[in-house]
Symmetry: C2
Subunit: 127 residues, 2 copies
């Protein structure tokens, strides 16, 4: 039996994935994988997600160059989630040019942007 | 407008929540919140989730004593998730008596349990 068979895929065939920077410990993103995405992630050692909006495999960094080298893959006890520990190329995981997608913090009842933009997104996503 | 109105609740009125220990940096759990759970979490500064299986509010630690003191609440850019940074009472977040629910690691194609049980669950959940 493959390790893929032990993953509790939801009714849409997906599992939530938390990705953490192995060095800073920052939680970078929450995304989704289907079976193929997890298989390719393990085989290539680079994070591959399932884009729910685009309905296709999403090789993280394919446009931005901000690939995630996967150092560790973990599974939780029952909440149906995978954890990746990664080396984040460029130190930028978010499409806004920030280290982490969790750049808004609740302060006195308001979501405040507290993390800096490290690189202008227009320079990341040149077409 | 309340900060609660800015949360992109899904079609079930829920949002995924990643909880991280502020000291060890370990990702402890992935769970869910509805509007009331997030409101109570912010008001009480202790993590309150929505139990999808029991369909009720779940004050983390109400049985085990392993409450989570909430130091920081963050929201991500678009993946519809909340991040809590917490102080984990007892250093145990998982019902199996381990620090984190992510105690299984993929090694050579198999999910291996790599983290120790810190306290016997039968001693945690005395009835």
């Amino acid at each position: 039996m493959s390790f893929l068979d032990e993953v509790p895929w939801n009714e849409s065939g997906l599992i939530a994935v938390v990705t953490q920077d192995h060095k800073s410990g920052r939680v970078l993103t929450v995304a989704w994988m289907n079976r193929e995405a997890l298989q390719q992630t393990v085989e290539t050692r680079q994070a591959v997600y399932w884009s729910r909006s685009r309905k296709k495999l999403w090789r993280k960094g394919e446009e931005s160059g901000h690939v995630q080298k996967v150092l560790e893959v973990r599974l939780d006890c029952d909440a149906d989630a995978v954890l990746l520990r990664v080396e984040q190329a460029g130190g930028i995981a978010c499409h806004t040019g920030r280290e982490s997608c969790f750049f808004r913090k609740l302060e006195n009842g308001r979501w405040m942007t507290v993390d800096p933009v490290l690189k202008d997104p227009s320079l990341i996503y040149r077409k």
